[in-house]
C-alpha cells in the first residue's frame, strides 16, 4: 500500500481508533488477537523464568540453590504457566483469532463480544493465578494429584484452582466462536474440503476444547471443595479414591496436549505448501487425520496412569488405543514430507521452523510409543524420559509451529517484514539450544533419573549441565525474536497484500487488514494450495 495515495482508503485495524479504551473494549477479532499476543508472551516469559531457576538448581547434584519445597513450586508453576497460560491459548487465541474469520471469508467471528469476554477471562484467570503463585506459590505439580494437593499441601491450591477454572471459560468461549464461525460463516463456494488445513486444525482443536475442558472444570471444583472442606472424595484415608481424581484430570489433560499440538500442525500445512510451492499431499487424509487425532485423543488418557493402581486390563486397552493415535500423526508427517518432495523449496524462516517441527515432533512422537507400551512405561514413567518426550512435542513441536506461524503471518498482521538474517539466526539458536537441553534428558530418564527431584546422583551431573547450558541457549533463542519482531514495527507498512505469494483468502486483503477484512464477501471456486513448483516464494 503506497502512502501518498490520494484516493481515501479504509484505515487498517491498527489505526481504526486510537487510545487504550479502543483496544480494551474492541470487538475486532484482529485486535483481540493482538491483546492475546501480548498476554501470552508475558506468561511465556514468566513460565520461562521458573524453568531457568529450576535448571540452575539442577546444575549441581546437591540441593544448593533452593530448598526442596521451593523446587517443587518452581516445576509446578513452570508447568501450570506454560500449559494453561501459554501453550493452550497460543495458536488458537493469537493466530486463530486473527485468521479464522479471514480464512473463511468472514468479517469477524460469529460472536465478537464473547471473543472479548474470552480475553477478559483469560486475563482475570491469569492474573489471579499469578497472584496466587507469587503469594505462596503452589507445589503439587501441574497435575494436582490428590491426596497431596487436597489434604497435605500447604500452598495456594484453592486460589490456583479458581484461576484455572476462570481460564477454562476463556478457552471454551473461543472454541464456541470458532465452531459457529466455521460451520455457518464460510464464504460462498468454500466447502469443507476446500478449507485450509489450518481451519480444520482450529475446528478440531475447538471440538476437543468443548468436550474436554468442562471435565477439568468440574475436577477443579471438586478438588477445590475437597481442599477447602476436607470432604474425602479423593482421599483414601477418608474412603475416597485418588485414582478417581486422576481419571477425571487426565480425561481432559490428555486431549489438552492435542489442543496444544493440532494448531501447530495446521500452521505447518500452511507453511510447507507455501514454501515448497506445492499443494498438500493427500489433503483428505490430512483433514481426516486431524479429526481422527481429535477423536482418538479422548480414548487414551489412562496411559498416564499405568502405574497408578489402575486395572491392568483397562491399562492394556489404553495402551492399544495409544498406539492407534500415533497413526494419524504419522500420516501427517509423511504427507508433509511428500509435499516437499519435488517441491521448489525456498528457505525462509517459517519453513526453517517447519523443518524443525517435523523432525522434533517425529522424535517426540516416536518416544511416545515407548511410553504407550505398558512394559517399557513401567521403567520410564516419572523419569526424565517423560520430561524429554513431552518437551520434544510441546517445544520442539508446538512452539516451533507457533513461531513458524508468527513469522509467516507477521507481514499480514503488521504490514512489515522482520529482519530475515536475525530470524534465521535465532531459529538456528533455538534448534541447537532445544536439542542440547532435551536430548540429554532422554538419556537421563533412561538411566533412571526421576523427574521432579532437586537432587540427583553425581554420575548424572554432566548430562544435567549440558541440559542447563542448552536451556540458556534456548532462552536466548526466544529473546532474539522479541527484539527483531518489535524492531520491525519501526518500518513503514509496505509489504503489500501477499509478500509470500501464498494462497488463502487472508492474503487477498491489505497488510494490515481493514477492520472488516473484506469489502464484499469473497467467492471461492477452487481447491486450496494452488501452487506451482515453477514459481518460488
Amino acid at each position: 500500500m503506497k502512502h501518498n495515495q490520494t484516493i481515501a482508503t479504509p484505515e487498517d485495524y491498527i489505526h481504526a481508533g486510537y487510545g487504550v479504551r479502543s483496544w480494551l473494549f474492541t470487538v475486532d477479532h484482529k485486535r483481540i488477537a493482538i491483546l492475546y499476543l501480548l498476554s501470552i508472551t508475558l506468561f511465556f516469559f514468566v513460565g520461562g523464568f521458573f524453568a531457568l531457576l529450576l535448571r540452575l538448581e539442577l546444575l549441581t547434584p546437591q540441593g544448593d540453590l533452593v530448598s526442596a519445597e521451593t523446587y517443587n513450586k518452581l516445576f509446578t508453576m513452570h508447568g501450570v504457566t506454560m500449559v494453561f497460560f501459554f501453550l493452550i491459548p497460543s495458536i488458537p487465541a493469537v493466530l486463530g483469532n486473527f485468521l479464522v474469520p479471514m480464512m473463511v471469508g468472514a468479517k469477524d467471528l460469529a460472536f465478537p463480544r464473547l471473543n472479548l469476554l474470552s480475553w477478559y477471562l483469560y486475563s482475570v484467570g491469569g492474573l489471579f493465578t499469578l497472584y496466587a503463585m507469587v503469594t505462596g506459590g503452589i507445589d503439587t505439580g501441574w497435575t494436582f494429584y490428590t491426596p497431596y494437593s487436597s489434604s497435605y499441601a500447604l500452598t495456594n491450591v484453592v486460589p490456583v484452582v479458581i484461576g484455572l477454572f476462570i481460564l477454562g471459560f476463556s478457552s471454551i468461549l473461543t472454541a464456541l466462536n470458532f465452531i459457529a464461525t466455521i460451520h455457518r460463516m464460510r464464504a460462498p463456494g468454500l466447502t469443507w474440503f476446500r478449507l485450509p488445513l489450518f481451519i480444520w486444525a482450529m475446528y478440531a482443536t475447538s471440538v476437543i476444547t468443548v468436550l474436554g475442558t468442562p471435565v477439568i472444570a468440574i475436577t477443579l471444583v471438586l478438588l477445590g471443595f475437597e481442599t477447602a472442606m476436607g470432604a474425602g472424595i479423593f482421599d483414601p484415608a477418608l474412603g475416597g479414591d485418588p485414582i478417581l481424581f486422576q481419571h477425571l484430570f487426565w480425561f481432559y489433560s490428555h486431549p489438552a496436549v492435542y489442543i496444544m499440538i493440532l494448531p501447530s500442525m495446521g500452521v505447518i500445512s500452511e507453511v510447507v505448501t507455501c514454501f515448497a510451492r506445492k499443494k498438500i499431499f493427500g489433503y483428505h487424509f490430512m483433514a481426516f487425520a486431524i479429526m481422527g487425532i481429535a477423536v482418538l485423543s479422548f480414548l487414551v488418557w489412562g496411559h498416564h496412569m499405568f502405574v497408578s493402581g489402575q486395572s491392568i486390563y483397562v491399562g492394556m486397552v489404553f495402551s492399544a488405543l495409544s498406539f492407534l493415535v500415533a497413526i494419524p500423526s504419522a500420516i501427517k508427517v509423511f504427507n508433509w514430507t511428500a509435499t516437499m518432495y519435488k517441491g521448489s523449496i525456498s528457505f525462509h524462516t517459517p519453513i526453517l521452523y517447519a523443518f524443525g517441527f517435523i523432525g522434533l515432533f517425529t522424535i517426540g512422537g516416536l518416544t511416545g510409543l515407548f511410553l504407550a507400551s505398558l512394559a517399557t512405561d513401567v521403567h520410564l514413567t516419572d523419569t526424565y524420559f517423560i520430561v524429554a518426550h513431552f518437551h520434544y512435542i510441546m517445544v520442539g513441536g508446538a512452539i516451533m509451529g507457533y513461531l513458524a506461524g508468527l513469522h509467516f503471518w507477521w507481514p499480514k498482521i503488521t504490514g512489515r517484514m522482520y529482519n530475515e538474517a536475525w530470524a534465521k539466526f535465532s531459529a538456528l539458536i533455538l534448534f541447537v539450544g532445544f536439542n542440547l537441553t532435551f536430548f540429554p534428558q532422554f538419556i537421563l530418564g533412561h538411566l533412571g533419573m526421576p523427574r521432579r527431584y532437586y537432587v540427583y546422583p553425581d554420575e548424572f551431573q554432566v548430562l544435567n549441565v549440558m541440559s542447563t547450558a542448552g536451556a540458556t541457549i534456548l532462552g536466548l533463542g526466544y529473546i532474539i525474536p522479541m527484539v527483531y519482531l518489535i524492531w520491525s514495527l519501526r518500518k513503514p507498512r509496505d509489504v503489500g497484500e501477499n509478500p509470500w505469494g501464498a494462497t488463502g483468502l487472508e492474503w487477498k486483503t491489505p497488510s494490515p487488514p481493514t477492520t472488516h477484512n473484506f469489502e464484499s464477501t469473497p467467492v471461492v471456486d477452487g481447491d486450496p494450495y494452488q501452487y506451482s513448483p515453477e514459481e518460488r516464494a
Binding site: N177, M185, P214, L238
Partner: protein, 211 residues
Amino acid sequence: MSSQLAHHFEDMSQQREASSLGMWAFIVTEVMFFGAVFTAYGICRMMYPNAFGEASNKLSVLLGAVNTGVLICSSLTMALAVRSAQLNKTKSIIGFLIATMILGGAFLGIKVLEYSHKIHEHLIPGLDFVYEGVHAPQAEIFFSFYFVMTGLHALHMIIGIGIMVWLLVLAMRNRLTDQYYAPIEITGLYWHLVDIVWIFLFPLIYLIGRA
C-alpha cells in the same frame, strides 16, 4: 428488523443459525460438566452402596419430588414463551417468562429450605458434619456430592433467571418478534438443559436406597 442484524452476518438466518449452534456447543460443555460429576458420584456410589443409601435417606423425597414437578412446569412455560415469540405474541412472551421465573424462584426457595434443614441436622461436610454410625466418612462424601451437584445446579438456575430478566426487558421493549427470537430460543435451550440435569439428579441422589 434489519437493525438487529449484526454487521458481520450476511442475513438474519445466518445470525440465528450461528447463535443456535453456539448455544448447542455450549450445551455440550454443560453435558460434559455435569456428566463428569455424575460419573464421579456413580463410582463412589458403586464403592459404598449401603453408606450412600443410608445417607440419601436423610433427604426429603417430598421436597425433591415437588421441586422436580416445579422445574418441569417451568420447562413447559419456557417452551411456551419461545413459542409465543415465534408467533409474535409479546404479551404471552412476557406472561410465560414471568411464570418461568416464578417457578424457578420457587425451586430455589425449596432448595434454600432443604439446605437449612441440612444445616439444622449438622450435615454440612467439612464445616459441621455430625453423623452417627459406621458410615460417617462415606456419608460425608455423599453429602459433598449432594452439595456440589445441587449447588452447581442451583447456580445455573440463578444465572438462567438472570438471563430471563434481560429477556423480559427485551420483550417489554417489543424487541422479540417472529423475525428475531434467537435470544429467547437459546435461553430456552439452556433452561431445558438445567431441567434435564435435575431429571437425572433427583432419582440418582434422592431415591436410592429407599426400598
